[in-house]
Symmetry: C2
Amino acid sequence: MLEKKISSAVIKRLPRYYRYLSELLDKGIDRISSQELSQQMNVTASQIRQDFNNFGGFGQQGYGYNVQILKNEIGKILGLDRQYQVVILGAGNLGQALANYAGFSKRGFRICGIFDVDPQKIGKTVGALRVSDMSELAGFVRENAVDIAALTLPRAKAPEVAGTLMELGVRAFWNFAATDLDLPETVAVENVHLAESLMRLSYNIANIPHE
Amino acid sequence: MLEKKISSAVIKRLPRYYRYLSELLDKGIDRISSQELSQQMNVTASQIRQDFNNFGGFGQQGYGYNVQILKNEIGKILGLDRQYQVVILGAGNLGQALANYAGFSKRGFRICGIFDVDPQKIGKTVGALRVSDMSELAGFVRENAVDIAALTLPRAKAPEVAGTLMELGVRAFWNFAATDLDLPETVAVENVHLAESLMRLSYNIANIPHE
């Protein structure tokens, strides 16, 4: 656990650093300067050095950064040095897309269950999982030490299901429902509001520089 | 087109205002004060007034805001007062989820085509569309005045497909591939990096206040 409070702007950049460092390792690159990283990521080198200084540097004068060490350290800060048990609520296309995405388990996010209320979906196979009846959720969460619930539910259902999961001890929500969950500060929430993302895009279309 | 440059922090909040105002209208509420909106949205009333002042106010002393007018004005700023033709590249679970989401067409985003290279997917029905062969993309884009391309492609394929679409005149990309597209400033890009979102969640799990 870190002593120092890190700004949310820095935190927002860390996953992107992590992704780039992973790509460098995949290409067999094990050492990089802040200048090189800067060019690839389209962030200034001084920004990179400042960001990394928040966590004690990791760099060596004249050598640059060791990609593996840097990736590991950023991974630790992001909490990627442990496993998470994830359940998906809602087995529609989006729930299935999340269940089938191999990249999550690689980073320690293990999808252990997927639930729906629709009899047409219950019992079907999604990736390596069988879609379970929502009525089995409470027992499942108690037995499986679930860390994260991904909510791919209709807007009207999400707050109630989140409340139930919270009572069962779930402390983190990955919310795809088009509503804000009104949950206490002791719960972590990350929203993915797709309709809002699309509106930002249409704003940008209306405001791109002219050629 | 706006004369004044609006900060990206304000722009980021507009889609959320738009969503709340839509919900108010659905509930039959046609008038609201900045105080009431503040309580519901968990933003300070002075923040709301400041944000709306960027666009000339919209409020009336002692009356508050007319929800419909405010929603329309924000909609105009966001470019939601027109129709967009959208194609989806990649007919996997995520592409299908986007194609099936009714909320997009309601806001003027008309999904007019979905493409894939996989013979198992080509010809299948997704929502009201038939999955087309990627080889038909160029002709389709030329005939249909496509505005936006949603990329739900593997990381390795996304930059090439985006480049092709740009040459065909597409000027906006909704990018779900886990890579940054290196496109000129005359193109609008909105990224949805799901793996990065999940990393922010795991960071927050490690850093939530203790009960």
